[in-house]
Symmetry: D3
Subunit: 79 residues, 6 copies
């Protein structure tokens, strides 16, 4: 009876989207439940999945909020 | 000094409600703090409780988002 | 289908015990599942409970590891 | 830069094993990172995975520690 | 590659603010990443920080929602 | 009344150490509690800190357990 928590930034991956779509979330839920069935033989019915969407200003990396971290990375790679 | 995290789907239990009410949340906080006092003698003052409300499209079970999982269960039980 | 996480320090409450006993853990699981049934009408079968025992040196309060925090509190109250 | 937390009971799935093996854990890490790449186009390098193994006496379902819950389910299904 | 999760109530600390500001969040991210570099020599680039803002009615202490807990504390200290 | 959770791999940073030392943990607890006081004016007494040490085989990055990920990074940087 596994519990899987998926934390992602709240932002879209397709043009115009501002967050993961319901279809993308369903694909994550389906995929990770299937993975636990395949690897550890856990029945899909007993796997819980929680997707936690985090505002980009609440996510940090490299000591910076993620938007500024990405700008910094782009600036470096174009040097 | 326990920390209790209660994750629930954001939906109502009483007619017309779209989420747990403030009264229901207060009852959860009171009840779980009392439980830790009774079972482990933890002073209520040092127990923290966090209620995390999760959108139904972000909660999965049986490889499906929870709304579709419930439809599936209802369909099965009415077969 | 709630998920409840109970974080406690790993230490005993009864003489000689160095951690919560299996009976105490069972009482926490039973009590919190019953609470979610009573307050939010969640079927007990769909509530998951996870108890997370944390070493005292890994738990901090008041800027101090919990053992030193308690010593400080005792020293203050006996002043 | 997603974070995935996989909580499972500490118990084996293959004969003689008392916990998930290093190979099974590696397969979970590989599979879930690949899933986030496929569904949300997240580079595998920026996905963190944490596997949290929980003792069976610390995991509850149906108001019971998981070992007792399973006994109850088996007893019911053999009625 | 540490992960730091900071849970705070959603409320402002400066006059007129109803939540932590983007600047305050950036200072938390910067400060905690620097702390892990100083104490455990973790490169800042590999530290992830997630700030989780919790509504005050979803946060409990002393068996009460936090707003009522604070009222109670104020009432006691003015006795 | 913030809660800070610090997840790190269980491994030493000083020669011969196989995990963060009690002194290093105390420094993390002190530092992060001070940070919340400085940035958000949270009294240190009401900040809880939990340090969660994760076995390296339970931590993944880049689709690999962390030990293998580091080997891969070293091999790449020496090419």
């Amino acid at each position: 009876m596994p519990i899987v928590t998926i934390q992602i930034t709240r932002e879209g991956t397709s043009p115009g989207a501002t967050a993961a779509t319901a279809e993308e979330k369903a694909a994550l839920i389906q995929g990770v439940s299937k993975l636990l069935l395949d690897v550890l033989h856990k029945p899909m019915d007993s796997t819980f999945v929680v997707i936690d969407e985090v505002e980009t200003e609440n996510w940090g990396r490299g000591g910076l909020p993620v938007d500024r971290y990405r700008e910094q990375q782009r600036a470096r790679s174009s040097e």
